[in-house]
């Protein structure tokens, strides 16, 4: 049985998650203890800033034991952790594993990091030798389901962080960012982050510096662009495609007239103004100018929220897809339940066959090699033909989940 015991951003506050986190280098030893002390046959630990979870396979219901291990390991009273922990077994555990990998359980829905973290956690478990056939299958199936969800639904599309939203908007206006010019007014941290994304997309950066020209030069060098004095604002505006303004100035830095003057020399090229300063740097009335798209911090936030709503819509499709994969995995797992029975059945049939062949041989006396062969062949064929329908049907019943309840009857009918 597959078990998952842990806590996440849904059930526990940050300080509890921090307290239960496993440092990377401690994982091999923790996995070893989970097997030796708790008795898990297979184990994996997923520890990120948003969740700490133990995945395991056990013959008996070991979820409570895993829970008390978590408390012991981190030297916390078990009762204190209790309200934050979930203990999932069987189908629930499998579903959880799939949903986590597909980023359906993430704090930021559809964020891409979780899949990498899941992969890494399995790798560490594999190296530590605590991964067996079952968790390995869970790993492969849940990762491939997560990839499908990402490519076949829009769950990972549309940026939800401010700096990426700015980049995405730039792409919605200009398409390719290659050789577009970005003008940074002021050299703040936020502008730098957004500018870096744009430069990575192929844009050229210019940094306008005021009193602290040195800082502008440093940032320009870091972005592979050039620095210019603040006085050249109008000339640079006329050249720029994207402007990111984030000075700490108390008043308006870029006047509507500046933008208007720049527009006349632009021949209808769109101009994307991003104002991430508080208080604002760019005159909001500049938004009325034709071909000018002005976004302030609030606008970027509202786009991020709209994007998140889009993701939630796509999440429904992703949930359906992942559920299909979960059911397939469960069916495959159940079909394995009858494997020991089938092996036993086969062995029993073969014993009978051999015994009967032996008896026949005694009665028939010496046989030619051809006759020997024919005897073997005919008896084997009879056994195989007889066993074929029950084998197929048992696997099917097991897959549907009907085998378990009738196991006693099945054994009796087959004489086992």
């Amino acid at each position: 049985m597959i078990v998952v015991v842990g806590l996440s951003h849904r059930t526990a506050p940050l300080e509890v998650r921090e307290a239960l986190a496993f440092p990377r280098e401690a994982l091999p030893q923790a996995l070893e203890r989970l097997r030796a002390e708790v008795g898990l046959a297979e184990a994996m630990v997923l520890s990120t800033c948003n969740r700490v979870e133990v995945y395991g396979r056990a013959a008996a219901p070991l979820a409570p034991a895993v829970a008390s291990f978590l408390a012991d390991y981190h030297r916390r009273p078990a009762a204190e952790l209790d309200p934050f922990l979930y203990r999932l077994e069987g189908e629930e555990a499998v579903r959880h594993a799939f949903r986590v990998a597909a980023s359906l359980d993430s704090m930021v829905l559809g964020e891409p990091q979780i899949l990498g973290q899941v992969k890494e956690a399995y790798q560490i478990a594999e190296k530590a030798g605590s991964l067996g056939a079952v968790l390995n299958a869970l790993r492969n199936r849940s990762i491939s389901a997560a990839k499908r969800a990402r490519t076949e639904t829009g769950i990972g599309e549309n940026a939800v962080s401010i700096s990426y939203v700015a980049v995405e908007l730039a792409r919605k206006i200009f398409g390719e960012l290659k050789d577009r010019s970005v003008l940074l007014v002021g050299a703040g941290k936020m502008s730098e982050l957004a500018a870096r994304h744009l430069v990575r997309g192929g844009a050229q950066a210019t940094v306008l510096g005021g009193r602290t020209f040195q800082r502008a030069e440093q940032l320009a060098a870091a972005l592979g662009g050039k620095a210019a004095p603040f006085e050249s604002l109008r000339a640079e505006l006329a050249r720029a495609d994207i402007v990111i303004s984030g000075t700490g100035a108390p008043g308006i830095v870029v006047q509507r007239e500046d933008v208007q003057a720049a527009c006349s020399g632009r021949r209808q090229r769109p101009l994307f103004l991003i104002d991430i300063a508080v208080p604002r740097d760019i005159d909001p009335r500049a938004a009325d100018l034709p071909g000018v798209f002005l976004y302030d911090l609030d606008d970027l936030r509202s786009v991020a929220e709209a994007n998140l709503r889009e993701r939630r819509k796509e999440a429904a499709a992703a949930e359906t897809l992942v559920e299909g994969e979960v059911l397939e995995f469960l069916e495959w797992r159940r079909s394995l339940e009858v494997v020991p029975l089938l092996v036993e059945l086969r062995q029993r049939a073969d014993e009978i066959r051999r015994a009967e062949v032996e008896k026949a041989r005694k009665r028939l006396g010496p046989l030619t090699p051809e006759q020997e062969q024919a005897l073997e062949a005919v008896t084997t064929a009879i056994v195989n033909k007889l066993l074929h329908p029950p084998t197929v049907h048992l696997k099917e019943m097991a897959g549907n989940g009907h085998a378990r309840e009738h196991m006693g009857l099945i054994r009796k009918l087959l004489g086992l």
Partner: protein, 271 residues
Amino acid sequence: MTSRAYLLMTLGFYAVGALQILAQALMGRRLRGNLTLTATLLGFAFHTAGLSQRWTEAGRFPAVGLHDAASFVAWATVLVFLLVHLRARVEALGLFVYPVAFALMLVAALTPASERDDPILKSLFLPIHTTLAFFGYAALFVACAMGVLYLIQERELKSRSPRRFYYLIPSLERCDTISGRSVIVGFGLLTLAIVTGVLWNRAAFGRLWTWDAKEWSALLAWVIYVMLIAARQRAGWGGRRAALLGIVGFGAVAFTFVWMSLTPGVSAAAR
């Protein structure tokens, strides 16, 4: 199968495509074009077979009268869309193309086929002139549709609170580029269509111009597109103004097409 049977099959497939894409857009879902595209490809195959069947039945090139013209121009539009789709996947373009293809086929299905059989229709100018013209219309339609998409996307971006279309429509740059290229192709075809039309006039009636309304509207469209292309190349026009002009130009093109299909003669002089 008769050409009408083919036509109804085509109509059915295009209906599936149109309903599918409109439903996706209305439900605010991502446009996933695969099913739509499959339906359209199947429809297009039946459409092609139907046109060739109709050619045999009519005994002349199937581009005379509303029934044939609507079907043929729908065929050209779908083909041009598929070609654009091969180069640049713009699912949102389907929002215009699928419903229009369906509507044109519906018109074709509801109108009787023209039985006209003038000597003038035996001319080699009929297939040449109409093919050039119809493919020109299709390309100019794509240009117009991309222009409309441009205007919608621009409004979305200006509003600063993206709604459905922000997600469905590609970047302004892309809309503008595809629209600009389609105008060039469409304009080239339109020019050739006008030239062959004039030559056909001369061959049939001994004069170049027959003072028919569609000749004037074609000329008007041609002048609008000359202005549009010149403004794009010389003055760096793009985006909004180019999109608007492309839409106006297509208005003249649409009039030309409708007038041509409804008036029974090749031109007024034939009456």
